[in-house]
């Protein structure tokens, strides 16, 4: 039966996906070294109630390895990510913070990745223009230090531990376009008109038939 084929196929797909998860399941966020990196993120526009526009405004991000970092020899690369502040996680379980790293969904947006050079001790900085698919919300920046196996070992973030300071707000693009709006109206009108034309036409034909 067709259903057996579908079931079998989907089982196969699922098993394949499952096996690609690897052995990263038990790594916890709480095991990472805190504040190993000093990270600052400065929006291009600051002020009370300023909301940055996705696709337009920039963040100026700097990161530096803290002098107190103990796992520093393991660092191979630095990954910088945009993370949701608690206000943007309320009633949104798909952005939940989880301790297990592979389950954690609070930092889905990649900003950039840098390979780590132990010889360079000064702060690195770069500009990041907010991507056009960043959703509306409140954010902070976090940098993870990863080792040779691409496992996170330490991190630093632009806000405090409670995630209450130095947050910035972003407003997403609406995705609406004038051309889309116009096309939408045109097709809607066509749909209603076509129906009316058919209806009136048939009523008229029926009347003519009856009068014959």
């Amino acid at each position: 039966m067709a259903i057996h084929k579908i079931l079998f196929a989907s089982l196969l797909i699922c098993l394949l996906i499952q096996s690609s998860h690897g052995a990263t399941k038990e790594r916890l966020f709480s095991d990472l070294e805190k504040s190993a990196l000093e990270v600052t993120a400065t929006p291009s526009r600051v002020g009370e109630g300023v909301v940055l526009a996705a696709g337009i405004d920039k963040l100026s991000i700097t990161w530096k390895v803290s002098s107190t970092a103990t796992k520093e020899p393991e660092f191979k690369a630095i990954k910088v990510k945009l993370c949701y502040a608690p206000a943007s996680q309320v009633d949104r379980p798909w952005r939940k913070t989880e301790n297990e790293l592979f389950k954690d969904k609070s930092c889905p947006h990649k900003i950039s990745s840098w390979s780590y050079d132990p010889a360079v001790k000064t702060a690195q900085s770069f500009d990041y223009t907010l991507e056009r698919d960043i959703p509306t919300g409140t954010y902070f920046v976090r940098a993870y230090a990863v080792d040779a196996k691409d496992h996170e070992v330490a991190f630093g973030q632009s806000t405090n531990e409670d995630k209450t300071t130095n947050l910035f707000s972003v407003q997403a693009i609406s995705g609406r376009h004038k051309s889309l709006d116009i096309a939408s109206v045109c097709f809607s009108v066509f749909s209603v008109l076509a129906l009316l034309v058919f209806f009136v036409n048939e009523k008229r034909k029926a009347k003519i038939e009856q009068s014959k």
Binding site: I6, L11, Q18, D91, P93, I173, S174, L180, E202
Partner: protein, 541 residues
């Protein structure tokens, strides 16, 4: 023996007649009889591609044919219904994108899901009357072409409120369920209407599965042309919109209301007296079985509609699948309808042949309960292969239960058959609204917990089927009445007419139906000590 059928062509009581199964089965449907020869010598029947009965309804079902008018009506009907399912649930697989664009919370998404199925509660009830007045073609076309603007207006949506409003308006088009079943019931004869309606219903429901595949695919293709995700999803809605317009035009140009022509041209030819809507309504509402079916369908079709809204997002979030893969998994749920629903109807028919109506009721209870148990399992499954397996078994159980329910519904009433079918259909949407509101609209339960709880609620709400008792056939646990009068089908169906109406002969159709429904006694029908119809042929089909 003159064919004595009070064919209420257009009477409100039968507006949805045969929406399910077992419509008018004529006791003279034996092939070689003097009466049928008289029909064959009639010219009109010779012009049909399929064998027809005296009302020119097809007696055979050939799914691969597009012959005018019967098979064409079938295909136009189920494809229209299919298209409406695509539009209603088109947002579901794209929710991960939409929720970021519009900054939606789980509550917003849940409420929009409730709204998407709520509109149809009312539109399904109204559609029966629309089909009576304007014919099935216009019923279908109105549904398709007047809700197409709602589909297109997704391009204007900017926040949670407008998103909810648009999904609510799109949901109205699910009334095509009623117009589709109405159309097939005027085109196909009572004996095969169960299978025909099971296929039309099941294949239409598949749209809820296909949309989970179609929309992510369309979204992906539009993104490839360079659009941002937040524009691409809006544009993706144009596809269901186009489909609706195209189907609407096809229905109006290629379709035909009745086997003999369109309603407007046939309007003058002898219409039998219409039944009074108030009476029909009263008998439907007064019958407690109607409400039990309302609840039951709410937890078979209702659960199915809810799953269409939440399952894609569930697999996306819980198992970290891509939008595409989550769509494939979710689609498998809806696609099972292709055979699961007709299978349910067929199982009900087989059970009836052996055990009569009691068999039908047991089949319904078993299928729906087993489906709900697998739903509980689905919520508890923490690994992907187990979740998919549970989902597939759950889908077959629940969808077969939908088909089995419409094996019972036609026997609840003859006079109010159409309205009861409409009410049952509305119950499906109501159940979906309730389950989405309770379990999937707040952060109180995770989606997984919501699924399990919904399964538990479905098991509990399937228990009322044990209380459906027919004096002439019994119920799940009680035998039929031994009382002289009450044990007859005529008593049950005749009881819907007052003495005055009976003296006017208005109840003749019900009596005919009662005779034909003796098949619901199961194997005992042959041994039944009841006067057989004039032809002397066995009453069971």
């Amino acid at each position: 023996m003159a064919p004595n059928h009070s064919n209420e062509n257009g009477s409100i009581g039968s507006s949805l007649h045969g929406v399910t199964a077992r419509e008018q089965v004529f006791s003279f449907s034996v092939e070689d009889g003097p009466s049928s020869q008289a029909i064959r010598s009639d010219d009109p029947t010779a012009k049909f591609a399929l064998l027809v009965d005296s009302e020119h309804r097809a007696k055979v079902f050939k799914p691969f044919s597009f012959a005018k008018p019967h098979m064409r009506a079938f295909h136009l009907g189920w494809i229209s219904f299919f298209t409406c399912f695509i539009s209603t649930f088109a947002a579901a697989p794209l929710v991960p994108v939409i929720r970021d664009n519009l900054d939606l919370t789980k509550t917003d998404i849940g409420n929009a899901g409730v709204a998407s199925v709520s509109g149809a509660i009312f539109s399904r009830l109204a559609m029966g009357a629309v089909c009576d007045l304007l014919g099935a073609r216009y019923g279908t076309a109105f549904s398709l072409m007047l809700s197409a603007p709602a589909v297109f207006s997704m391009s204007f949506v900017a926040d949670a409120g407008s998103y909810l409003a648009v999904r609510f308006m799109i949901g109205f088009c699910l009334a095509t369920f009623v117009s589709c079943q109405y159309w097939t019931s005027v085109m196909f004869t009572g004996k095969i209407i169960g299978l025909v309606n099971g296929c039309a219903g099941g294949w239409g429901d598949m749209g809820g599965g296909v949309t989970q595949l179609l929309m992510p695919m369309v979204f992906h293709v539009i993104k490839l042309t360079g659009a941002t995700p937040y524009t691409a999803w809006r544009f993706a809605f144009f596809i269901p919109g186009f489909l609706q317009i195209i189907m609407g035009i096809l229905v109006l140009t290629l379709g035909q209301d009745l086997p003999d022509g369109n309603l407007s041209t046939l309007q003058k030819s002898g219409q039998v007296s219409k039944d009074k809507f108030s009476k029909v309504f009263w008998f439907a509402v007064k019958n407690y079985r109607t409400w039990i079916l309302f609840v039951l369908y709410g937890f078979s079709m209702g659960v199915e509609l809810t799953i269409n809204n939440v399952i894609s997002g569930y697999f996306y979030d819980r198992f970290n699948l891509t939008l595409h893969t989550a769509g494939i998994v979710a689609a498998s749920f809806g696609m099972a309808n292709f055979f699961a629903r007709p299978f349910g109807g067929y199982a009900s028919d087989v059970a009836a042949r052996l055990f009569g109506m009691r068999g039908r009721l047991w089949t319904l209870w078993i299928l729906q309960t087993v489906g709900a148990l697998f739903c509980i399992w689905l919520g508890r499954a923490s690994s992907l292969p187990i979740a998919v397996l549970a989902m597939m078994l759950f889908s077959v159980g629940t969808q077969a239960a939908c088909g089995a329910l419409f094996g019972v519904a036609p026997f609840v009433s003859r006079r109010s058959l159409g309205l009861i079918s409409g009410l049952t259909g509305a119950g499906g949407n109501f159940g979906s609204g309730v389950t989405q509101l309770l379990f999937f609209s707040s952060s109180r339960f995770s989606t997984a917990e919501g699924l399990s709880l919904m399964g538990v609620m479905a098991v509990v709400c399937t228990i009322p089927v044990a209380f459906i008792h027919f004096p002439q056939w019994g119920s799940m646990f009680l035998r039929p009445s031994q009382h002289e009068e009450r044990s007859k089908e005529e008593h049950y169906y005749g009881g819907e007419w007052t003495e005055e109406e009976k003296s006017l002969g208005l109840h003749e159709g019900s009596i005919k139906f009662a005779e034909n429904s003796r098949s619901e006694r199961g194997r005992k029908a042959v041994l039944a000590d009841i006067p057989t119809p004039e032809t002397g042929s066995p009453a069971h089909v």
